[in-house]
Symmetry: C2
Subunit: 487 residues, 2 copies
């Protein structure tokens, strides 16, 4: 426990949140020592469970006065260590701030607290014909607060956009305890779009304690088709062809043989046994969906799909998605240990990048299985390994990081939706130039000059990254090269 968390400070915290709002017993603190990235563990000094915005303000004012770092936490399902405690920190968790505060159907808005579970937002408005679009695989357990910190995506972000598209306004407690309103309930508000900066800032700019979300009308019809291919490349080509044809499906997902098998063992979705499965969901008015489904089916057939199967009913569709969403956890059926990686590449590079990743896996004698949001080029390679084999965990971590380098080299990025957190901070300097990162740091200090809000995350630090930082990529303006047409 750092010197600043004195008995007097603890007593003050207890007065703010009450007896039930403060955890200090070591056996209880262990629940909070990591999130979904279990390779890193740090015991927090204390855990707080505030019940109101006012309590969060009081906590952060105290942290500011005493220079105590804090880490906000939702359900702890994050995959990049974003909610990993820092040495000597307080963890602030939101299980007691889980109320839906207001529903405004006419303006398609809902106001909630950060501890509300993602799928409970849809549940609250579903009887009226509405839904909340962002749907991370963990949506039945993860919270809206965590979704905002990570700018969570999900299979349907291809059509509907990430969390940032669906958050209108937030009440935010700054690291000094000040209260600000970011964003607005009407579109395109004046001033800087600080809601946009806050969303996806991985807890480094303060804590959102109330948020107004956009809800959408449920589509009239939803249809899902499964297409079985002999190669990943053929499936990937179909994805590019569907987009080029002008369709915008609600989701396009690819699973490879290993993932199909894992899902099959785990939740029995009755997938066809093949090298690559392409799952396409279309939604909208029935006439339109029928028309589009014909086009999509033709494209898949044209690329060699030897089976195309339409979900016959709601139940069947649910099962198909259950298999896809269980794919990460199901990797545990294939291997004692695994790392889920999360890179993004231009959609058109899919076939070439997949070939390269495959060669890298073969060279390391490691199995890599792929499940990905193919429509927006968001790969989720899962590196399988066995911690018991000497050196294998190190090789797996190294391979998973080199996969990100390949993504950046292909013009992509080191994370699509899992965030940088503690896991990928050393890859940031591979993607951003020094002035890029310095500008972000200055923005961070505009919100948090003392580095109290989730410190030692997101940005590369010499202490953590040492020599891995491979130096800056300078931006290369195109203007000197004339017109480069890449049709």
């Amino acid at each position: 426990m750092p010197s600043s968390l004195t008995p007097a400070v603890l007593a003050e915290l207890q007065r703010i949140v009450g007896d039930r709002g403060l955890i200090t017993a070591v056996n209880q603190l262990q629940t909070y020592e990591c999130d979904g990235l279990t390779a890193f563990r740090v015991l927090p000094s204390a855990v707080l469970l505030p019940e109101s915005t006012g309590q969060v303000q009081q906590i952060l004012r105290l942290c500011h006065r005493e220079r105590i770092p804090f880490v906000a936490r939702g359900s702890g399902t994050g995959l990049s260590g974003g909610a990993l405690p820092t040495e000597g920190c307080l963890v602030i968790t939101f299980s007691r701030m889980n109320r839906i505060l207001a529903v405004d159907l006419a303006n398609q808005q809902i106001t909630v607290q950060p501890g509300v579970i993602n799928s409970n937002v849809t549940a609250a408005v579903s009887p009226h014909g509405y839904f909340y679009a962002p749907d991370p695989s963990s949506q039945t357990v993860c919270t809206i607060g965590g979704n905002i910190a990570e700018n969570a995506g999900g299979a349907h972000c291809l059509k509907y956009g990430f969390t940032v598209t669906h958050v209108l306004e937030m009440t935010v407690v700054l690291p000094n305890g000040d209260l600000v309103t970011l964003g607005a309930k009407t579109p395109n508000a004046p001033g800087y779009d600080l809601a946009g900066v806050f969303i996806g800032s991985e807890g480094t700019l303060g804590i959102a304690t109330e948020m107004t979300l956009r809800i959408m009308r449920k589509p009239e019809t939803v249809q899902v088709i499964l297409a079985a291919f002999n190669t990943i490349q053929a499936a990937a080509q179909s994805v590019s062809d569907v987009i080029a044809s002008g369709q915008l499906p609600a989701a396009m997902e690819i699973m490879d043989r290993l993932s199909i098998e894992a899902a099959e063992i785990s939740v029995h979705p009755n997938y066809p046994s093949c090298e690559a499965l392409l799952l396409i969901e279309l939604d909208g008015p029935e006439a339109e969906v029928n028309l589009q489904m014909q086009t999509v089916t033709d494209i898949c057939r044209g690329n060699g799909a030897w089976e195309t199967r339409l979900a016959i009913d709601e139940q069947d569709r649910f099962l198909i998605w259950k298999g896809r969403k269980a794919a990460f956890a199901a990797a545990g059926r294939l291997s004692p240990n695994y790392i889920v990686q999360d890179g993004v590449i231009p959609r058109t590079s899919l076939p070439a990048v997949l070939e390269k990743l495959n060669a890298m896996a073969v060279a390391e004698n490691l199995r890599v299985t792929n499940v990905f949001h193919a429509g927006d080029g968001n790969l989720h390679p899962i590196v399988l390994y066995n911690r018991e084999n000497p050196g294998e965990e190190e090789r797996a971590i190294d391979l998973s990081l080199r996969i990100l380098d390949v993504c950046v080299e292909a013009g992509g990025s080191i994370t699509g939706e899992h965030g940088v957190g503690r896991e990928k901070q050393c890859s940031m300097s591979y993607m951003f130039s020094d002035p890029d990162l310095e500008t972000m740091q200055r923005v961070r200090h505009a919100f948090d000059p003392l580095d109290l809000s989730n410190p030692e995350k997101l940005f590369p630090t010499p202490r953590i990254c040492g020599e891995r930082s491979r130096g800056a990529y300078a931006p290369h303006p195109l203007e000197t090269s004339g017109i480069a047409e890449v049709f």
Copy 2:
């Protein structure tokens, strides 16, 4: 001319941009003394026309060294004085940086320089079946650089979103001359979304010198319908009903009688003569559009539309839009002087707010005509007046600002797409609390610690605003009030 713009500095600037890139003659400088908000005029010290990112870097390094403020300018069509020079500033204009640098159809991207005219982006990709969605009324003359500064909208932003949705990556010269890359060509990049902050920052954070934009497939079919109503309220109700029915038209615009008459005199679009004209554009696959058009027509008829007319062909559709887009300029046919205002309100408040604005106009004995993006609640009330009548201009300005107060009170905002600029900076403290504005200022200083980039805009300053700042609106968290359902 301020002391810092010495002959030596001028010579240095001339060496950077060459003889043809520097304007110092007073009669030539007058072109740049205002933008579309002609009520404010300041002569710049010099105007620069750089030809490359490197030249912009050199200029800003020199400005930084010599503490010279600068104002970037596109075509000068802005309506809020965003490109108004500051006393002693340099104006940097982009008419020589107007090239399209790369087109990547497979990934639906185009890379351009800031001086490219908005409609030239669509022109470049239109033969391949693509278009660039943001379409401000001034699109045939305004530049992409200016669109980014103002986060420009347009009639079709209802469906397609504002400029921020369509800019993927930018090369930006910071006010100290450093080069950074904001955003990324793949979705949801890690780190802070600084592209989102930059877009709509009204030139206060630096200068974008190269931008990669998202282009979209042209829809298979586009149809426009005109519906004539006896009241604005009935037209507004139809807009709400269309949205509530689950349709998302490409555009929904309302014009009142005065605007219809002005457009008719100006470009003869052959509009029906009525109290309120609702213009709805649908786009998408033909089968879908036909289906939706039936629903939309039924809704309009149900709300009392006594004429509904479908554009018979491309030519007819073009003419209908020409009338709408000419509406601001056409106000000049109604009155020697006018102010175009730009407020946003929740769509459901349209009927009540319009009634209130009408009463305010009557009380001031001033005519106010309305043309607005009804789908997203973006009003454009045009206050007509005659400068020759003593006191009338002051009353017109005061009325136009009080209209914004009504918008804020209805839960809306002081600008939808024209920006704050010099015109509305004093209304900012009516919309934002002190901590909100202070946080924005700190972010500004993260980019521009010396306040050199378009200073004295956007934020309220005591020098300019004096007593008009009516003090801060504190955010009101809902959590204490229980569930408020507003169905």
